[in-house]
Symmetry: C2
Subunit: 420 residues, 2 copies
């Protein structure tokens, strides 16, 4: 058996987890860049964010009303209101000028700082405002007693100084954006988006803008993979589809590997005479990490390293490309962009149909979930459709079906990996 | 009661659904623009996509092997293989030159067109190739019979000519991108991203790049809402926070309304003395659609129209702003960008904790889901946290809790609205 035949037929099979570990050894996060907060949405933080001030950083009124000394109004009731002299008005955003001493009150707005001396705020609805025009003085009649501390959030009542708010690697969504804004991060250090070059192989492939020709089809995998790359947080570069010439292919791949963080190919990894990636790996100066994975679809998925750059070669079938991307490429792209837990955790769901096909290898089946009476049900995507390409859009998870001969029945509990 | 007092205290309460309907009357989708397929990911299609050719558009081989007349190999077995003369080699992407007649076979690759005359393809693994050097002829020894039709996908076997593949309004993800590419849509008509101007109100608000000051806080709602806008498919424009001066505010809002598809404000809609949006609505030349919604949080959420442009005024509390956005603004933005079912459907889940607080109005509580043994469980986000702002990032749904006095207990079935 020569080395070429061995590459095609004598492949050593490894598990999905082993293949991932082999790839991960070469995954590094990208460098850090600084972007404005408004353009940081969807990116991943490259630092921990700790509170550099407490929240609130002043005693804050939670309501519109009057800041008072609670002792003064202990006896207040609708029948016997307590009248206090109003010394000032504190809109939010201003600072109190006076202390509130016994017998006094300050009109205060929601969010404004409670003046020193006051230890409670009475809601506006429980008061009547009185005006003594002659003495040019304002009074408030308070109809209810409140406990000391009422309607006041103490300093650090929400967030302590130094508290860890967001961890390095966190994806910046609406809640994270609010925190970053509140703590003054107008510029945010994030990881550069990993660049991913995408090649399809096959001389049957036409560009998307070419007219259909006999025996030829348009390259759709590259666009599918590009959309997956962008959804994973990467930046996709769609390359011209590869020819059947191993030397040309090697040159194209080498050039791409010098410019991007990851090269993805689809097709050309099987056992056919024209599976050019196999030929390239046969003469490869880099290191072939694996070329057979115990999974269906996508058994001939291959991984390689060239000058410390990663090359992941996916099966050419659209379904296998999609699944291979989700299992291997997406976690790599997420890890490169700083994600600390890049593999989506499996959750359990109930199989909603029989799945009769057993398999010598574990299957990762594109699945569609639905929730019924609080239960998560899942069925293979597109079982009612004859085209894999048309059903890919319906997948929101991968269903993991362990190897075995007997298949699975409706109602059985299975593990699924949600997509996104 | 003068009109101002009426606006503050005499508000007519309407349901969330009624408020939505009032807003929706003024929602139109944006105009259509054409973008390249690679930049269309995440956008919404502005046309139906029908198959302008069948898939496959030729009889396609599903395997590497030999195209034969099934009749010829009816008797083939490992012991008594049938030998056929190989007339040509058909890589994928090429067109057969010859018909396959009885006694003949053609070497064919996966994806290549099956030659006329042949009605089955035998997998390579079931054959041996023979070479007659003297006569310069190739033969194949076939060790297994296969049925007519085997390993051939007929024309239109996957997609029929004219089949509806993608509907107007569909969001373009990986599966949609593959379909668009396969059918030659290098340029894709999509709806323009709706532009959304975002104003926060409150003179306590500092810009995100300003140093903290006594009694003042940084504007975080605008960034939270901007991230929500972008996640909903809109384009966010963060405006300078609004002052307390109704005339200035009216001018700023009017100007924005002339330039964007939707104006969002947060804060200033309550009953406080400085709730400037209420003053603006009091002198408003446009039409106030509603200013009180039967919901918590966010009861004073208000909607208005000005020259056919929409203004949605959210409560200023970060939790209320977040919820109000999800209930009202997100579906509007999705509808503007072409989505045909912009409100996320409710699904059922099991409450994972007691929720003791009853409410006169239905509550929409920010929730966090988890799946346990195939069951969807949900708990209010941040029940272990003292800051609403810090817990917003943990929400992946809104829990709908109907009005009523008694609260809810752990294990009860509730409806939730997933976010995204």
């Amino acid at each position: 058996m020569n080395s070429d035949t061995k590459l095609r037929f004598g492949r050593k099979v490894i598990s999905v987890e082993e293949a991932r570990s082999l790839l991960y050894e070469y995954v590094n996060h990208t460098e850090i860049e600084s972007v404005s907060l408004a353009s940081a949405f969807g990116r991943r933080l490259a630092v921990d964010i700790n509170a550099d001030h407490p929240v609130p950083h002043f005693r804050r009124s939670g309501v519109d009303g009057y800041a008072v000394c609670a002792e003064d109004i202990e006896q207040a009731s609708p029948e016997q209101p307590t009248v206090l002299r109003v010394i000032e008005r504190i809109p939010s955003g201003t600072v109190p000028r006076w202390n509130v001493q016994s017998g006094l009150a300050a009109r205060i707005m929601t969010g404004a700082p409670v003046p020193d001396g006051a230890d409670a705020v009475v809601m506006l609805e429980m008061t009547d405002s009185l005006q003594d025009e002659g003495r040019n003085a304002s009074y408030v009649s308070i109809k209810k007693n409140v406990q000391a501390g009422s309607n006041i959030t103490p300093i650090a009542g929400e967030v302590a100084l130094g508290e860890l708010l967001l961890e390095d690697g966190t994806r910046i969504g609406p809640g994270e954006a609010a925190i970053l804004a509140a703590f003054g991060h107008a510029e945010v250090p994030v990881y550069r988006k990993p660049k991913v070059a995408i090649f399809s192989t096959g001389s049957e492939l036409l560009n998307v803008d070419e007219a259909l020709q006999p025996g030829r089809i348009r390259n759709s995998n590259s666009y599918m993979l590009a959309a997956q790359v962008e959804a994973a947080g990467g930046s996709a570069v769609i390359m011209q589809a590869l020819s059947d010439d191993p030397l040309q292919v090697e040159t194209a791949l080498r050039e791409a590997l010098g410019q991007v963080d990851l090269v993805l190919t689809s097709g050309g990894v099987s056992v056919g005479d024209y599976d050019v990636l196999v030929d390239v790996f046969g003469r490869f100066e880099g290191k072939l990490l694996f070329n057979k994975v115990a999974m269906r679809p996508g058994t001939p998925t291959s991984g390689a390293i060239w000058n410390n750059r990663l090359l992941l070669a996916l099966s050419g079938n659209p379904g296998a490309s999609f699944v291979g991307f989700e299992l291997f490429a997406k976690p790599m792209i997420k890890a490169m962009s700083g994600c600390k837990a890049p593999c989506s955790a499996a959750i359990s769901a109930f199989l909603d149909v029989d799945y009769a096909k057993g398999s010598a290898y574990p299957r990762y089946v594109r699945g569609t979930t639905l929730v019924e009476d609080g239960c998560l049900r899942v069925r293979p995507s597109g079982i009612d459709k004859s085209s894999i390409m048309v059903s890919i859009k319906d997948a929101d998870c991968l269903i993991y079906l362990p190897a075995g001969g007997k298949g699975f029945v409706r109602g059985e509990s299975v593990l699924i990996y949600p997509i996104q």
